[in-house]
Amino acid sequence: MMRRRRIGIGLAACTALWLAAAPHTAAAASEELDELMHLMAARQHGEVDFVEQHFLAVLKRPVESSGIMIYDAPKRLEKRTKEPRPETLVLEGDVLTMQRGSQTRVLDLKAYPTVLPLIESIRATLAGDSSALERVFTVEFAGGLPHWLLTLVPREAAVAHKISAVRIEGVRDDLVSVEILEANGDRSLITLRAHPIA
């Protein structure tokens, strides 16, 4: 039972993850959005540092975690948390692998119909299919290619019940931040910074 709850939690995080590393979004009738999507689709591999902050009602100040995030086109995404406690999330195709301490959980995303549309739409975006994205979210594009902000609001009530919006900020084909706004007022902010090339 609670195993499933935890899985749900993992999925929320995973959704955020997808949003974070998949900057391709579309705004209706926006040439700049189309341009942005072309630009992003050309990217095959990305590796960035992240800092994630949780702003919760129960906390006086946000709690923080950090690590690296790796993206390989078109379907693999990894979030490797280093601090304060190591854990790994890997999304590969439909399969999400979560590892923490000695525990590993593997799940098939198809089993979670409330999360699936969200991820499917991102995949559609990766493929440059902005109409598929529009089916699941209302998409708002603000700014211009040099500095843009996407606001995604789930259309599906079951998804909107948990997550009220996802805001993605970027500069050309680099992501700057991904913010997940929970319906209960809690939020999580992931800030990304180019990974120093070794």
Partner: protein, 800 residues
């Protein structure tokens, strides 16, 4: 004379009637118990309770195949929904989250009674500080966003702790919300019946309920629904299936054996009267056998009746000897035909040797064998008694049966070339054959015996393979290693489970086991609950401790007021009893781990292997840990324990068979007044046993306990033949061709009776048939070939 006749016939009829009534009123069983010990040791008792009533015995594994993926998913949901409304099922799991909300509510509501980390230290400043720091780390993790909502009421993380306590083995692959096999080709469900696995009638009803629910669900699963196929496996499925199979086999084979024997006898006697008379001992013997088993054991195992078919083949021999050998000798020219006395002493001795053989089965701890022994002894005694005392009364004055002398002469002529060879040469060949067989058996000695209980299982290999497939898909072990804590009350059992958990916890850390389940995780003992409740501090103290513990942490203490209220409420909450679990899936989890049999309460703690790919647990090490803790918990390795049980049967059966053989040898030596003569009688029998055993090994059959019993039967039945040949060569008086003919007919009937068992589809019966049918035939051939050539030499026969 007339009065005597009336007395005999009246007594026979009365006894037969009583036997028939007893047989009709007897209780017939077709479950596993025929294979379980009648007087178990305490460890065996635990095993038997597990096999009969345990959680594993109540599982029905279901696979939905065919159609398309959508239809399978829909049918899985429809089937599960229907079965969940059916009171005959304790639980139905197909991967759907049917009761998760209620479960979560219950766990959250009662977290301070359920969580094992609730101790007085937990609520001191230091204890709270550690718990809060953990919670903050959790909040920073990937799961942080959703845990956030729980923290104001549960900042010490008790809910997560309970969930970890209850966490199960990894679930099967999930597709569209329901379980599927790794390839996705079949949808998987697990149903647990309310009734025990040993309640075959209830299991049969449950299977029927699943079938009709499936039919309804498949009809609603769209166009591809019609192509769906329902397959089931599990102990209940097996017991229902094997009962049906044994019943079918017993009925079908009894009819077939009777019909064939009737045909043979008609062909031999050419007289309906003789046929009717000839079958009386068989019928009386069978009734007497069933009645004796019913009286002696209270129940009759279906498998006993299966074994008993063989009795038809053997008891018919008596009337054959009687009718054929008592036939008047051909009238000398000018004189009247004179009836001859049948060879009663030889027949009685033959019967006694058979009884010796079967008697050695009586002390067997294996109820199936003990019943076979009883059935056969009573059946044979009754059959011979009827032949000896009743048949002569019924024999019409002019019974015309065919003269079998020509058949006897033909057989004698067939034997002649063998018997013309000098005795030393024949014995030399026999010894060479025995030597070769022995050498073969010696070479194969390592893998001669099958030592697994499953070798007795009435389950076909295809069914067993499907079961293994489903279990692999579901990640459900076929045999469980578990810790059993016996107790006199539920509370004591739960306390026992809690102390056992303390022994097991270090083993998890050392990776001896991967984890374990315990009923106390679902419902702690009242003692543990009371202790936890008492360790909750009163509101003022908790508040002060919390303030100090949270100093400098990111948590906002002001937001934790609901926590203080919840703890205060928990301090006054009633303790939980088993009724509190009703309505949640936790009740099923709990029920499955508590066994209530005969006023005993057993807490069951199933162990999980540390590495799922290497599912063997070092049970010895677990045992040592419990011994070191001087706990009275028992560690049960069900697979090994049941195989050990079987090995014990096997060793016992080997011992008993040797005793039986010794008894037969002693009896023969005594009656024949010479060990040498006894040896001559026994030699062809032992030779045929060795030959059959070697042939089975050559056919790559692993020998089981039933093959062993079959060998004993070869000796028991074959001794009749050997004795007749022996008698013939020691002062027989002229009826040799008829003796030979009656032996051939009797053997044909025996081979028919046992040979049909090979077609039963029930492995234990097949093993018996495959041993005895060729064995008795060989016994007859060897006995004939090794018999002394004089006086019934070829010329003597020709001149008779």
């Amino acid at each position: 004379m007339r009065a005597r006749k009336i007395a005999i016939l009246g007594g026979w009829l009365a006894l037969t009637l009583v036997a028939a009534i007893v047989a009709m009123r007897a209780r017939y069983l077709a479950d596993l118990s025929a294979f379980l010990p009648a007087r178990p040791t305490p460890a065996q008792r635990l095993l038997i309770d597990q096999l009969r009533y345990g959680p594993a015995s109540r599982l029905i594994l279901i696979g939905l195949e065919g159609g398309d993926a959508t239809a399978r998913v829909q049918a899985s949901r429809g089937l599960a929904a229907r079965l969940r409304r059916d009171a005959r099922f304790a639980s139905v799991d197909n991967g759907e989250d049917a009761t998760a909300d209620r479960d979560r509510e219950f766990l959250f509501e009662h977290r301070y009674l359920l969580s094992a980390s609730v101790t007085p230290e937990h609520f001191t400043v230091a204890g709270l500080r550690a718990a809060l720091e953990d919670t903050i780390e959790d909040l920073a993790s990937n799961e942080g966003l959703l845990i956030g909502a729980l923290v104001p009421r549960d900042p010490t993380g008790e809910t997560l702790r309970i969930v970890e306590q209850l966490s199960q083995t990894p679930a099967p692959r999930n597709q569209d919300g329901v379980w599927v096999s790794p390839s996705g080709a079949r949808a998987l469900l697990v149903a647990e019946t309310q009734a025990a696995g040993s309640d075959t009638d209830a299991q049969e009803q449950a299977l029927d309920a699943i079938r009709s629910a499936f039919a309804a669900a498949a009809a609603q699963a769209g166009p591809a629904g019609r192509a769906l196929e329902l397959r089931m496996s599990g102990p209940g499925v097996f017991s229902v299936d094997s009962r049906a199979r044994i019943e079918r086999a017993v009925v079908r084979l009894s009819l077939a054996a009777s019909a064939l024997i009737v045909v043979v006898l008609l062909a031999v006697y050419r007289s309906f009267a003789a046929l009717a008379i000839g079958l009386l001992p068989v019928a009386t013997g069978a009734l007497a056998g069933v009645a004796a088993v019913a009286l002696g054991f209270g129940v009759v195992h279906g498998i006993t009746l299966g074994f008993g078919i063989t009795l038809i083949g053997e008891s018919v021999d008596y009337s054959i000897y009687f009718l054929i050998q008592s036939r008047p000798a051909p009238a000398p020219p000018g004189g009247a035909a004179e009836p001859r006395d049948p060879p009663w002493p030889t027949m009685s001795l033959g019967m006694l040797t058979s009884v010796c053989g079967f008697a050695s089965l009586l002390p067997s701890g294996f109820p199936g064998l003990a019943q076979l022994g009883t059935y056969s002894i009573c059946g044979l005694v009754a059959a011979l008694a009827v032949t000896r005392y009743v048949l002569p009364q019924l024999l019409p004055r002019h019974l015309h049966i065919r003269d079998l002398t020509p058949l006897g002469l033909r057989l004698a002529r067939g034997l002649a070339p063998v018997l013309r060879r000098p005795a030393p040469a024949r014995w030399g060949v026999a010894l060479a054959l025995a030597g070769a067989a022995l050498a073969l058996l010696f070479l194969a000695r390592g893998q001669l015996w099958n030592r697994e209980l499953s070798s007795l299982s009435p389950i076909s290999t295809a069914a067993a393979r499907y079961d293994a497939e489903l279990r692999a898909d579901l990640g459900a072990p076929s045999a469980l290693d578990l810790v059993v804590v016996p107790a006199a009350s539920l509370e004591a059992a739960l306390r026992g489970a809690e102390s056992a958990a303390q022994v097991l916890a270090p083993l998890v850390v050392q990776h001896v086991i991967g984890g374990f389940d315990s009923p106390a995780n679902y419902l702690p003992s009242e003692a543990a609950q009371a202790l936890r409740r008492a360790s909750l501090p009163e509101s003022g103290v908790l508040r002060a401790n919390l303030d100090r513990a949270a100093a400098g942490l990111a948590l906002d203490v002001e937001r934790l007021r609901p926590f203080l209220d919840d703890v205060e409420a928990a301090r006054h909450s009633p303790l939980l009893g088993p009724d509190a679990l009703r309505g949640s899936s936790l009740a099923q989890g709990f029920d499955a781990l508590i066994l209530h049999v005969d006023g005993r309460w057993d807490a069951l703690l199933p162990l999980r292997a540390a590495d799922p790919r290497a599912p063997d647990i070092d049970v010895a090490r677990v045992r040592r840990a419990f011994a070191a803790a001087s706990s009275d918990a028992q560690v049960l390795d069900t697979k090994r324990e049941s195989d050990a049980l079987y090995t014990q049967y096997l060793h016992q059966a080997i011992k008993l068979s040797l005793c039986g053989l010794t008894a037969i040898a002693a009896l023969l030596a005594l009656v024949l007044r010479s060990p040498l003569r006894a040896a001559r009688v026994l030699a062809p029998l032992l030779l045929s046993v060795l030959t059959v055993a070697a042939a089975l090994v050559l056919a790559r059959r692993e020998l089981t306990i039933l093959h062993l019993v079959g060998m004993l039967l070869i000796v028991a039945v074959g001794s009749n033949y050997a004795l007749f040949f022996h008698r013939r060569s020691h002062g027989g008086h002229g009826a040799q061709p008829l003796t030979l003919a009656s032996l051939a007919v009797a053997n044909l009937c025996t081979v028919i009776g046992f040979g049909l068992l090979c077609l039963s589809g029930v492995p234990v019966l097949e093993a018996l048939g495959a041993t005895v049918a060729p064995g008795t035939l060989l016994a007859l051939v060897f006995a004939a070939a090794l018999s002394a050539a004089q006086p019934p030499g070829p010329r003597a026969v020709a001149g008779a």
